[in-house]
């Protein structure tokens, strides 16, 4: 059966009525161009069979147009909508609709409501027409502010008694406006123009009589023939009727009356319905993630901000940002996990680089913004996942944020990484898989790597148990095949108890899923990860390290010689910037104290490795240098201090036999090959940035891979085309060699929401590009 349209629906929509679902026909769809918005918006012409009106579709409904569910002549059920006054137009925003019938014939020959009633609804303009209909349109809700606000004095009853005022929305506005003086600027104090007694200006009658005065004529006046008294009479927008009342000058007339602010609390909107056409909204949502205060400095000076992500009962998510003063004001108050009512803040198009929430907008707190805590609302979940299968990550562009649920197959120990700014962080890599037949590497950063849940995951995997992880906001990287990593706003939950997807996966895995093959989306290499695997002879043959940038390569090699002189140096233990150790070589003052030239003072020494050694494989050999941690690995897990003591206490023979034992051991090594100018002489310097015992299983796989390449006549050791530049470009590694931190200067942690300042792009060079690719 064909769907019926709701008669009179358009008039009610325009009148601002909300809350009642109506059936309408869509007569046309127009795409709106907006360079700023990232999503399409659509305007639709909706008809009730008699009249039609243009309405905006909320962005989340654009999908219906995209997938062709909603098209011309479709009959729809409007479930949720709002009417806004914009300039002189009524804009209806459709927040939620259901397509009842996609294909239908046009019903009736509707006319544009705006054209038929350019000045508003027909109550007064076409009384004959609408005489009966007057009862229909309900009292205006948004257009006419509560009377007492404008008038101050008179009891509301007086107006309501009039009935006529309330009824026709725009018309109601018109006479108010006409009277101008009635209340135009509501904030000016109710009666400024009228003098003390309400309505006094009108000619004495106080409240009650006034009510009568208005009400009486209105009752007839509005409902019936127009020229009945000054109120109902004049065509809308003509001021004269106001004059008899001694209305103030015209300046106050213009549209100011009805548009006055409605200070009543707006109804709570779903986050997904927030849109730029409505600035009066309140949302109720839980803080799922709150950032630290971040500071920035740019051309306009310094600043700070914080942000938090919200989740509401409908699963809508949006980020709220507070800058500077707002940051100071709200940061201490807003707490993760609590539920707040938020209103009177501004909506801006989000900046996708920093904001991974799925909403088109983000909320910026302003001076008048309100953030009120509510008692915890059980219906708002603590966290909302929108899971994708790992297989879909294969085609996801880098930097996409995804929610994934996966089983941990393997987990590595965390490693320390020195970021470009010299600070240290930790990362822990693991392989997760799901029932889509794919596996992917996931890297946890910072506290997640070392503390919860990194430690628990590691412990579980080491004991042979494979936990299920639910990841929210993991970032897709494309450096090493496809990878996932956590960012500041990520959440990782191990064995979540209340997530059905996690339980399904658990069952799948336990009931044989673990035995199924999974294609790895992330490439793996034992020591070298993505670094190009070479043979030592290639360093010379290809002139590695002679370019502007260092080359980073991986080799399988044995240490064939370890120099036992000058194996370590006394390093300055002064903390630069409070956290980072100076590590510069100290000068012996000869009196048991040590002086640092850089820090300008005496500091306690800490011995650090500066090992010289030769590496050999079946093609050749090279000198290399190894510092702190790599030195430990090579020196049998003894610190430089311990080895120095051994050297001083053991006899020569004993010590050299210890050193002998350390040679001819095989390692998978990651090397930095770079030019170094020393005494005006340019030399290629090889630095060990990672040394690990070979992983035989992985190395066997590599060999099989190489044999496969040989059989297919593909180059085995050639650099991956075009990848070299990408890998090492962007200065992700930073210069400085390994001396400073005793470690290679890695690119650093994938950027965690490095917001720009005040809407400007941040000028930090630590873009995630180089850094993340490197890792």
């Amino acid at each position: 059966m064909a769907a019926q349209l709701t008669p009179g629906a358009i008039a009610r929509l325009v009148a601002g009525e909300t809350g009642q679902a109506v059936n309408l026909q869509c007569l046309g769809i127009k795409r709106l161009q907006n360079a700023q918005a990232q999503q399409d918006r659509f305007r639709v012409l909706l008809s009730d069979g008699e009249y039609s009106h243009s309405c905006m579709l909320a962005t989340q409904l654009a999908e219906l147009v995209h997938n062709n569910q909603l098209k011309e002549n479709s009959i729809v059920l409007l479930n949720d909508y709002i009417c806004n006054q914009m300039a002189n137009k009524k804009i209806i925003i459709v927040l939620n609709l259901t397509v009842l019938q996609a294909d239908a014939a046009k019903i009736g020959s509707p006319q544009h409501y705006d054209k038929v009633f350019p000045n508003g609804p027909p109550a007064a303009a076409a009384p004959a027409d609408q005489g009966g209909a007057l009862g229909g349109p309900p009292p205006p809700q948004q257009q006419a502010p509560p009377p007492q606000q404008q008038y101050g004095g008179p009891p509301q009853g007086a107006y309501n008694a009039g009935g006529g005022y309330g009824a026709p929305p725009q018309q109601g506005g018109a006479p108010y406006g006409n009277a101008g003086g009635y209340g135009a600027p509501p904030n000016q104090g109710p009666n400024a123009p009228y003098g003390a007694p309400p309505g006094g200006g009108y000619g004495a009658p106080p409240a009650a009589p006034q009510g009568g005065g208005y009400g009486a004529p209105a009752a007839g006046g509005y409902g019936a023939p127009p020229p009945n008294g000054p109120y109902g009479g004049g065509a809308p927008q003509q001021p004269p009727p106001g004059n008899p009342y001694g209305a103030p000058p015209g300046a106050q007339y213009r549209g100011s009356g009805p548009v006055a602010r409605n200070e009543a609390p707006a109804h709570i909107m779903p986050i997904n319905a927030l849109n730029s056409y409505q600035n009066r909204w309140t949302i109720k949502a839980r803080v799922t993630n709150k950032s630290d205060i971040r500071r920035y400095s740019n051309a306009r000076g310094e600043g700070r901000f914080f942000s938090f992500d919200l989740l509401d009962a409908q699963g809508g998510e949006i980020r709220v940002v507070g800058w500077n003063d707002q940051c100071d004001r709200w940061e201490p108050q807003v707490q993760q996990g609590k539920v707040y009512l938020i209103s009177k803040a501004s909506l801006r198009n989000k900046r996708g680089n920093f904001n991974q929430t799925r909403h088109q907008f983000e909320i910026h707190l302003e001076n008048q913004s309100q953030v009120e805590e509510c008692v915890d609302e059980e219906d708002i979940p603590q966290i909302f996942f929108n899971f994708s299968k790992i297989a879909t990550v294969e085609d996801a562009p880098p930097n996409t944020m995804v929610d994934i649920v996966g089983v941990v197959e393997t987990c590595q120990d965390f490693v320390n990484i020195t970021k470009r700014d010299g600070t240290e962080t930790q990362k822990r890599s693991m392989i997760i898989r799901d029932d889509s037949g794919r596996s992917i590497e996931l890297t946890l950063w910072g506290a997640m790597a070392t503390g919860s849940p990194g430690d628990q995951i590691m412990a579980a995997v080491s004991s042979g148990y494979h936990p299920v992880l639910a990841l929210k906001n993991a970032r897709v990287g494309d450096f090493n095949g496809k990878t996932l990593s956590t960012v500041g706003s990520s959440t990782v939950v191990m064995d979540p108890p209340e997530i059905p997807e996690a339980q399904q996966l658990r069952q799948w895995y336990d009931q044989g899923g673990h035995a199924q093959a999974a294609d790895a989306l992330s490439r793996q290499g034992g020591g070298g990860r993505s670094d190009r695997r070479i043979c030592l002879a290639q360093i010379k043959e290809e002139g590695l390290g002679q370019g502007d940038k260092p080359d980073w390569v991986a080799v399988n090699a044995a240490i064939t010689y370890l120099r036992s002189e000058n194996m370590c140096y006394p390093a300055c233990t002064n903390k630069v910037d409070g956290t980072r150790q100076c590590n510069k070589k100290l000068q012996d003052n000869g009196d048991g104290t040590w002086m640092c030239e850089r820090c300008g003072g005496n500091f306690e020494p800490e011995y650090r490795y500066n090992l010289s050694l030769t590496l050999s494989d079946h093609t050749g050999e090279t000198w290399a240098t190894a510092f702190a941690e790599q030195g430990m690995e090579i020196m049998g897990n003894k610190s430089a201090g311990e080895v120095k003591d051994m050297r001083e206490t053991l006899g020569d023979a004993e010590f050299s036999s210890y050193m002998q034992d350390l040679t001819f051991r095989h390692y998978t090594l990651k090397l930095k090959v770079a030019s170094d100018t020393y005494n005006d002489e340019q030399k290629v310097r090889v630095t060990v940035v990672r040394a690990e015992p070979p992983n035989f299983v992985q190395e066997s796989k590599n060999l099989l891979d190489m044999i496969g390449k040989l059989e297919r006549n593909e180059p085995v050791f050639a650099p991956p085309p075009g990848q070299q530049q990408q890998q090492y470009g962007g200065g992700g590694y930073g210069g400085g060699g390994g001396y400073g931190g005793g470690q290679a200067q890695w690119g650093g942690q994938p950027q965690q929401n490095q917001w720009g300042g005040g809407g400007q792009q941040q000028n930090k060079p630590t873009t995630p590009g180089g850094a993340q690719q490197v890792l």
Partner: protein, 111 residues
Amino acid sequence: MATLDCSNPAPRVNAQQLSQFVGKRVTLVGRIEGVEGNTLQLRTPDNGVIAVQLQNMAPQVSLLEVQGLVNSPTSVTEETLTPLSDNFDLANYGELCKLAHSPQFRHMFLP
């Protein structure tokens, strides 16, 4: 110094190649599927199951190397057993067998 005895080699094979070695000595590696009496079911990396007639006690491990005489394409009489640790990648081993029997590399592994 004694030279390596190559007269009676026990080439590494998978279930697939067993038919070419009936009556000869081979080396098999696989996962123990089960033991019944003195017959051990061994699953090879290429997913074949071979009945191994035991002469020795079966060790309590999951991965095993067996040297023995091939009776039929699905059965071998064991001569020696070597238990392997769990840190052994059967897939890699399977690839090795495949390569060792491939025409290009056969000469490097088989007499």
